[in-house]
Structure formats: C-alpha cells, structure tokens
Amino acid sequence: MKIIPAESPAPPGTQALSARAWSALLLAFLLSGCHAPEQSADTDSAVIYLVEDVPAGLNYDGPAASLHTSQVGIVNLMDPLLEYAASPEVENGVQTSDFSSFEGSLAENWVYDPAEQSWRIDLRKGVYSCAGNELTADDVLYTFARAKSVSGAAPVGWFLASVASVASFDTSVFDNPAKRRLGDEISKLGRYSVKVFQSAPNPLFPHILTSFALRVFDSQEMRKHATESDPWSHQYVDEQTSPGFGPYCTERWIKGDEFVLTANPYREERAPSIKRIVFKRVPLSSNRFVIMKMGEADLSDRLTPREFEALAGLDNLKVIGLTGNETLFLHMNFKSPPFDNPLIRRAVSAAVPYDWIINNGYRAQAKQWLSVVPTRYPGVSENFQPPPGGLEAARQLLSQAGYPNGKGLEEFQENFQLSYVAEKQIALGPIANAIRAKLREVGIPVELNPIPLTQFGDRTLVKRDLPFALSDQEKPVVVDAGYAIQLFFASPSAGGVNNMTNYHNDSVDALWASARTTANPSARAEFIARALDQIAADIAWLPLAEFKTQWATHTELYGFRWYPDNSIRFSDLYRKEH
C-alpha cells in the first residue's frame, strides 16, 4: 500500500507493549466494554471536513480532473497565477468575487501588449513550494510545456490554453508529436518574468489562469519524479501529491478514505490560519448530516436541501451559501422529435412547476433561472421568460402544435423518457417526478429514466442522443458568457465544444464568431448579449433554477469565499469565537 507517511511525530502514548501486557489489556477491554477513546491533541487546530469523496486524483491533466472532489484538492495545494479580485460584498456568510477584475496570486504584475498580442507576467519573489523550492519562470514554462505535451489522460491544461488562444496550443498537437514541444509562444524574460503570446486577441486568457487547471507546478519536484516512460510525472501526481506553490502540503492521502493537508511550512506571506485540514470521506449525506449535528466535524457540503435546512437552526452550526453557478435545466434535444418543434418546447416551458421546484425541491434555497448562463456572471441579463399562463398556456401551445391534449404525442413516447443521473436520485428524483406530473396533466406522456452518471455523460457529451433530460451539473468553469456560448450553444462547425442539445442557429454562430474576433470589449459584450437573447428565445436549454452552493459549518469558522469551481480555499478560513 502506498500511504504517504505523516511527517508529524506519533501521538503521545505510543509505546511497545509486551505480550503479557497485551493480554491484560485485551481482557480489560472485553470486561470493561467499549468506551470513547480520547481524541488526539490537535482537535482544536484541525478542521474536519466531511466530504462525499476525497480526491481521486490531483492531476488536472489526469483521469480524475473533472471530479469536484479532485479539484478541491488541487486548488488547496497549488496556487494560480491570477485570482478574481475579492468583492467587498458578503452574501449569507460568503464573500463574493469581482469577476471584472483580477488580483495577483503567484503573479505580481501582468500586462497585455496589444501590438504583439502578448502578456508579460512578472512573478512574486520569495514564494516557496512544500519542498522549499522558490517559484521562478522555469516553473511557469514547465507548466505550459506539460499542458502542451497532452500526455495526460484528459488534457485540460491544453484545452483551456487553446480556448484562450495561447499561440500554437491548437489541435495540431494531436496529429503531430513534434508540435507538442513548447516553442517561443511562452518565453522566459528573466528569473521571475515570462511572456505568453496569443494567436488572436482573446480576453479569456486571464480568466483561464484563475481556474483549477494551469496552476503552476514546482518543476524541480516534478522532474525529480519523472521517469523515462512518464516524463511529465503523471503517476506521481496521480498517486502522491501535486507539488505546487499553494498554501497546503499533502500530509496523508488514502484514496477513498481520507486526505490530510498541513500548512506549507515555507509560506510566510499569506500563510493560512488553519494549519491542518482533514478531509474525511462520508459517502452518505444523511451520515454527514448526523455527524455535523452531533458536533463531531467542522464543515460539510453536498447535503440535501432538507438537511441544510435542519442544520441551520442548531447551536454551534451555521449554514452559509449563495447562488453562484449551480443551475438546473431541462435538456430537449433538437434532433429528437417532437423537440424540434418550437411550440412543443414552449409548451413544456409553460407547464413546468417552477415554484414547486424552488420551494420544495430546493427548500427555497434557489431562484428561478431566467437565462441560459449563470446570472452571476458578468454581462448576463435575465432574458428568458416562460410563456405566461401555466398549464392552460401549455395546452393551447400543444393544440397549436397539432397535439390537442397531447393526442398524438404517444408516437414519441421513447423521447419523453426524462433522464437524470441516478446517483443524484435524492436531489433530482422528486423534482423529476414533479415535472413529470405537471407535463402529464397537459397530456405530455413523460416517464422517468434515471441512468448512471457515466451513461448520462456518454449520451450528452459523446453520442449527444439523449432526447429529454434534467441536469444540474453543467457549468462553465471560465467565468465568461462567451465561453459558455462556445461550450454549450455554438455549432460544432462554428467552434462549439459540447453542444449537447444539437442546437443550431446561424445567427448565434455568426454573433459568436464576431465576438471571438473583435478586440473591442464593448462590441464583444454586445455580440454576446444578442447571442444570449437568441439562445433564450429558442429555448436551447430550458432554464429552471439557480440553486445555492451551501456549506454547513461550525459557527466559529469564518472567511468563506465563493469561487466558480465551488471549492473552498482553506487558506481563506480562520476561527473566531462566536
């Protein structure tokens, strides 16, 4: 077994016992019955975080990168070059970010030169990794070179760099191995400075630097663990730790069980107040709920709305959270009749029980989503309104479509199977059932079809043949409405990445193409706003709700801030007596 040994000394009381002492001890134990052993000494300083799962991997180019739990690990071990600036606003115990401005994390200065389409990045000096190595330009070069090597199972670093038009980070790397080597698109200007060239003006570049990917590796430490067959140390990062310049170091990582972080001993500036974080896997939300309730942990998330509601009123606990970028929508595939009929799409949108979903499905910890991009993102307005009139309007729309009271729709019975992720049955099951009930009331023959996440991902991302689905897991990781259009709504021929409903509108593609190529920020915003209006009018997705990202925590823990990856940065937190 490969368990990373703890560097801390063994707890007091450790001593070898003789066989006789063992016998006596066992006998005493059996006779006296079980009793609660005393906890270790560091209970006060450590934070126990109950999680659905611990990181499966820490490699943002590796197989577990898409898992939220892995991202939580990555962002606490590795710092990015830039972060979004903190907003003075605090909503329900959580500080928000100002997505229109950036602050340096590992970068001290960053300047765009429009003449040569390049970014000069000057690094902070005196930043050290957990191995004691100082951050230099070589680390940034190594990070981009590794991303361009597309050597990992899921090349997320390359993908984000290509989305931001970093020069020569294009699809040719997949066809030609020679193109996978880093050239002068990123050059070293000095020990602490680099320059990054873009192939086109693209404002997404600073945004992608804030994400969980493209965080800077400690190149010395990475090279130390490279092998001939694995020159980019994927195995080391998959199995041991992700060596970066973040606030925490990996103390112990037992996959599927626990993940323990300790403060980076070499970090002087911005050193974390909480010195030790224990991620404990408790897969059942009901168990996380009772453990929090009994005061045996400091922090938990991914509880059901009802469980959060129940914890909110308890002594020593608080529930905090805000509407960030977690959304719920109905997916209606344009290639699956009758969803190619706009009247049917409108009828469905009229019949959906929005209020029930918000008040019962999310226990009022959500609001109706009136856009196709999270409304917290800059430049996104509420431009979607379902047809007024509810069920009556739905019936009229069905009649106009030639299906009075749903007669004739039984022909499409297969396509009215409402799919959702079976693993999310507790959260999505009741909502899917409420939608089914209302749609059946107007004659739409909906049946429920929970399927495993893997199958759901395959049919939405790869096959794109899922006719009708309820989804709460799609969110653009880059905080930009243009990125969201490219990701979900642009046609593949227009550069669309994951158009899972097979939506196609020439005008949207043209607007996105204009937004991509313009160097004028206000013109870009205008193109994007018009594209979003069209997408909403076409009901490319049927937006249902924006729900809160929530945490249940001890009342003494403060400093929570919301980031678009929905992961806590433990270095933000501190304890304060309530």
């Binding site: 997320v156 996959k255 009901s286 453990i291 693993e423 994951n498």
Partner: protein, 340 residues
C-alpha cells in the same frame, strides 16, 4: 488428500480464467462509454479523443484483451501480476485492492467471530431444549433480525446509539479522522495496532468498528443460529445419539456429539455467507464510511472503470474459490467419503 486439493485448485483456476474473459468482454458491451466521465463536460472532441487513446479504448477489443493479458511496451499485463491502473484515480488497481480488501476482511472477520461465537451455543441450547426459553427467544430474534436488511438496522443503530444515547462513535470509518492510522502491515487497523504495540489505536479502532460489527453480526447471527439449531436437532435423532442417550450419556456430551455431526452444513452456510459478504458488505461500508472492497466495486461499476471492475472480479472470485476450497477440505476431513 493432495490429489483432492489439486483437483479443486485446477477447477478453480479454470473458473477464474473463464470469469475474467467473460467479464472483460461483457463490460465492453454495456451501453455507456466511460471516456465522457473522465474528460468531463468542459472538454473538446480532441480532448475526448486523447482520453480515449490514453485509456487504450481506441484499439480493437481483441487487442485490448491481449494488452490486458500480456501488457505492452508501456504497461505490464496480467501475466506480470498487474491488474492495470484505475481509470478514476490513475493508481494501480492492486493499490486500491490492497487498501480496501483488508478493511472489508477486518469488518467481516470480526462480525463472523462474534456471530459464530454466539450462534453455536445458542443454536445448540435451542436444539437440546426445544421448549426452553432460549429456543423461543431465538425464534423471535431470528424473525426480528431477518425482518429488515442490514442498512436498515445500521440506520437504526446509528440513530439509537450515536444520536440518541451518545454511547457509540459516529459513522466515520475505522478510526477517528484526527488519528494517524498505524503503519500498514496487514491493512487491518486492529491487527496493525497490535503489531505496532499501540494500545490506544487498538481500543480506538475497536470502538469505531463496534457499530458496524454489531450491525453485521446482528444480521448474520440469525441464520447461523437457525442452521445450527436445525442441524443439531436433526443429528439428535440419529441412531448413535439415541444410543448414547439410552446408555445414559450426559446432555452435554450428547450436545457435543450432535454438534460435531451438524458442523458440515453449518460450515457450508458460513462459507457461503462469508463469500457473499466480500462484495456484499457494500451497504454496511457505505453506512459506516468504511473504505472497503464493496465500496470500491460499486464506484468502479458506476464509473465504468474497466480495469478496476476486472480486478475486483478476479480478486473476489479467487477469494470465494479459496473459501470454498477450504470448506471442501474441511468437509473432506470431517467425512472421508467425500475425498473419493
């Protein structure tokens, strides 16, 4: 006896190989492509294709099978003792099995130890005194314990002993999250605490395992008692027991002889239950946050993690066959007629 064991081993080997081949091809027929889950929904078609290559799924199935068995330039195959790497974590499947199997074994061994220790005397007492209080109590308990599945009892026990009475630990696994586990030798925390000479860890792990073991024992003890009682009752009507009774042997001696005659079917039941629990303890593991083999199997199946699924099947089937082999040997030792 050697011939008997070798014959059983040969049959077992054929069974494992057949199962491995079957599973390899069957999981690839399932209507889901695992790549999408690994690259996530923010991925491009090129990233998807790259992931497909990285996982080896771009190759024909027969070639994938050949690589799985024999390996290639980059990876070892099954014949080298490698089960491949998990697609979820990137770690070797053997690492995950080494981590999770001891946790499951620890849970079920402790549970069986308690169950068998309780079931045999209670079953014998029930059989020797059919109208006694023990027998009646056993009947009621059997009905009660068998009336609900183990996860239901687990929930009730957590609520009762942890939430209401506060006399048991929370469902936080095999040890407190704040405690550093002992250096892994066997992977079973109870055993490793003993090896490390850590009384504090031993007590703590027994404390944390108390509720899951209680739950599993509570469910397992019922059928074992029933099996012991039925078989002892039947053996008490055998001629040699009745002869012993007629010549005035003590009740204790009669019970002991009846138990010996009843051991074989009871052992069979215990073996079957044990094998079932290797993969079937998943609900208890989930309920008490124990990182066991059942949990790993479940995650692997949901994620379509082919190497992990194949690895788990090979390990569980090998262990099951080993248990059955041991049972066969024990039966053969008890009854020489079976060695033929």
């Amino acid at each position: 006896m050697t011939k008997f064991v070798l014959k059983r081993l040969g049959v077992g080997l054929i069974q494992i190989v057949s199962l491995m081949v079957l599973v390899f091809f069957l999981i690839r027929l399932l209507p889901a492509d695992p790549v999408a889950r690994f690259v996530g929904l923010n991925a491009s078609a090129e990233a998807y294709a790259q992931a497909e290559i990285a996982l080896g799924l771009d190759k024909p199935v027969l070639e994938q099978f050949k690589i799985y068995l024999l390996g290639d330039e980059q990876t070892d195959g099954l014949i080298h003792g490698s089960l491949g790497n998990s697609w979820i974590s990137g770690s070797p499947v053997l690492y995950h099995i080494g981590l999770t199997l001891p946790a499951t074994l620890e849970l079920i061994l402790l549970s069986f130890l308690i169950s068998v220790s309780l079931a045999i005397p209670i079953g014998v007492a029930g059989a020797t005194s059919p109208n006694g209080a023990v027998n009646k109590g056993t009947l009621i308990y059997g009905l009660f314990a068998g009336s609900q599945p183990e996860f239901s009892w687990g929930t009730i026990f957590i609520f009762l002993f942890f939430v209401v009475l506060g006399v048991a630990p929370g469902p936080l696994g095999r040890i407190s999250p704040l405690t550093e586990p002992p250096d892994p030798v066997s992977g079973m925390i109870v055993v490793d605490s003993l090896i490390a000479g850590r009384a504090d860890l031993l007590l703590e792990s027994l404390w944390y395992l108390s509720l899951p073991v209680l739950t599993l024992s509570f469910v397992l003890t019922g059928p074992i008692i029933k099996m012991v009682r039925e078989n002892v009752s039947q053996s008490m009507s055998l001629g040699f027991i009745q002869y012993g009774e007629a010549v005035g042997l003590s009740k204790k001696m009669l019970a002991s002889d009846s138990l010996l005659a009843a051991v074989a079917p009871t052992l069979t039941l215990i073996g079957i239950l044990f094998s079932f629990m290797l993969g079937g303890a998943v609900l208890i593991e989930s309920m008490f946050s124990i990182n066991g083999l059942g949990q790993f199997s479940l995650q692997s199946v949901l994620a379509m993690d082919y190497p992990a699924i194949q690895g788990v099947v090979i390990v569980i089937s090998s262990l099951t066959l080993l248990v059955y082999l041991l049972l066969d040997v024990a039966q053969a030792l008890l009854d020489p007629r079976l060695r033929a």
